[in-house]
Amino acid sequence: MTVTERLGRAPVAPGPRPARLRAGLLLAACACLAGAALLAVLVGPVRLGTAGVLAELAGRLPLVDVDSGLSERDAAILWQLRLPRVVLGGLVGAMLALAGAAYQGVFRNPLADPYLLGAAAGAGLAATLAIAYGPDTSSWPVDLLPVAAFAGAVAGVVAAYALGRSGGGRTATTLILSGVAVASFLTAVQTYVQQRQDETLREVYGWILGRLTTAGWSEVVLVVPYALLSAAVILLHRRLIDVLAVGDDEASSLGVRAARVRLVVVAAATLATAAAVAVSGLIGFVGIIVPHTVRLVAGSSYRLLVPLCLIAGAAFLILADLVARTVMAPAELPIGVVTAFFGAPFFALVLRTSRRSL
């Protein structure tokens, strides 16, 4: 009898329980997201009624016919102002948390964040160039700034990856260090351009701190394809990211092509980051705090981490945006300031109360 037959035969009860996303946890996370989204839709300069909003939303479902009782103006606020912004915030938060978790996994580095490999520096430089020297794009079908930021983020990561590979090393550390080199260089160029064109300083600075601005649904439409694609790719690879935790060598001996898995996951995470950066600037902290909070609460397996990060990231950024646009209304705080200001103490609290260690 072979090893296959012998080990395969043994009847065992009750059986080991691997890390799996339990339905209760998933439901709780979804409930948090729904609550955050509803709150963000209701609160603003014009308060909308809960019942009216729920009825209005339900009325859009097929085969449901209810009269929400919202005035035409309120309905327009809901559909053209609040909802697009909440959805965009959710998408950006989900993407940044997802990308952060993915980078932390494939680089086996808890300090990795979506901007690790030069995505932020690349996007920053491209956005600065677009603001400083870009042509007037008001007559164009799409704005130049998001396109430039997207391309810059992707180019930054591609440059870091190419540099890491050219050094002969395919290890995670080589890649991280090339990312550091590329990011420093691009940031230096960006700072130079920014100083030369100081009339645009304020605009560039505002972009770097991050902001969610929407004009109807166009930004959402811009981000959705990338969000869906990268989320699908990373969700499909979540079990393999878990195996990478034992290092490239052992992962290889378990049948995983570590370098290729890392490349695919980094590519997907980069698309997610670039799409988020294109519409929201450089919102910091989400990509590092959300995955770690989820880890402390739910455990470190990527099989639960990836889906929960999508949900928690969305909820976190929706709430952060709500704070950003309400505390000093009618002025808006940069959302990056809010994510750090509220995120850091919250994270410290989770860190203190959690019995798990990272």
Binding site: M1, T2, V3, T4, R6, L7, G8, R9, A10, P11, V12, G15, P16, R17, P18, A19, L236, H237, R239, L240, D242, V243, A245, V246, G247, D249, E250, S252, S253, L254, G255, V256, R257, R295, G299, S300, S301, R303, R356, S357, L358
Partner: protein, 271 residues
């Protein structure tokens, strides 16, 4: 039948030759001990067989032609227990052992009942069932080594490669682990190749020995034929006495060489 066949295998790491034109046949069901002084190429040989190192020459696994197996297929035939396994943080013993099922689980699927049954069985074989929900990074050295072995068993590979499996274990745990490997090998019909630095343990637990020195096979054959005072002193530069253990097996004792440079022998004693 041949489990592993190497023909003319050479390996260079960072341009430095480590294995030279190695030819070796490992029959199925063997308990092969791989010995040799530090830096002789034992680890590199194991890694080459496991397909982790670029090499020249032929490495045959079973009856398949060299280079014909994909990474996943190779992982179903050869399980490697490294000398210093990476201990992931926050991973339970169950999930760790489940990693051994990676070459069987389709890329984008999740583990089946069958996979979990095999994990349970591997845990049971290594007496780890009670540890299943514990974190791997909270285990003691001996428990952890058993967890690594359980992961290798979950690969259901007919060939098990162990790189100095007793590193860091006390004498009792060393013995228990090797007894366990021996029993598992018998029960599951495994071919077991272990790199070992302790010659007495090698003498007790291996049927066949291959002595590597400078990346070449310096001696090979039945344990008694390889573990001789002459061969050991020649390749380890150690002065030893080889004794017959009345219970069977061989005992290698380092002795202080009078009038000679005592450093190599001293190092043996220090172990």
């Amino acid at each position: 039948m041949t489990a592993i066949g190497l023909r003319g295998v050479s390996v260079a790491l960072d341009g430095r030759p480590v294995l030279h034109d190695l030819t070796l046949t490992i029959p199925s069901g063997a308990r092969l001990g791989l010995i040799g002084p530090n830096g002789a190429g034992k680890t590199t040989l194991l890694r080459t067989v496991a397909g982790l190192v670029r090499h020249q020459g032929e490495v045959r696994v079973g009856d398949t032609p060299p280079g014909a197996l994909s990474r996943r297929e190779l992982a179903r035939r050869i399980a490697l227990v490294p000398q210093h396994p990476v201990v992931p943080t926050g991973v339970t013993v169950t999930d760790y052992v489940l990693m051994g099922r990676t070459p069987y689980i389709p890329y984008f699927a999740t583990e089946s009942r069958r996979d979990l049954g095999i994990v349970a069985s591997a845990l049971d074989h290594l007496d780890l069932t009670a540890f299943a929900p514990r974190r791997v990074d909270s285990l003691s050295g001996g428990e952890r080594q058993r967890a690594v072995l359980a992961r290798a068993l979950a690969q259901q590979a007919p060939v098990l490669l162990l790189d100095e499996p007793t590193t860091g274990l006390d004498v009792g745990h060393q013995q228990q682990l090797l007894e366990l490997v021996d029993a598992l090998g018998d029960e599951l019909d495994l071919t077991v190749v272990s790199a070992m630095h302790d010659l007495t343990l090698a003498g007790q637990f291996a049927d066949q020995l291959v002595l590597l020195d400078g990346g070449r096979v310096a001696a090979s054959g039945p344990t008694r034929a390889v573990l001789t005072e002459r061969i050991i002193s020649q390749h380890y530069h150690a002065s030893v006495r080889v004794l017959e253990d009345p219970g069977g097996g061989i005992v290698v004792i380092p002795v202080r060489a009078a009038g000679r440079d005592a450093a190599p022998a001293g190092r043996q004693v220090a172990r």
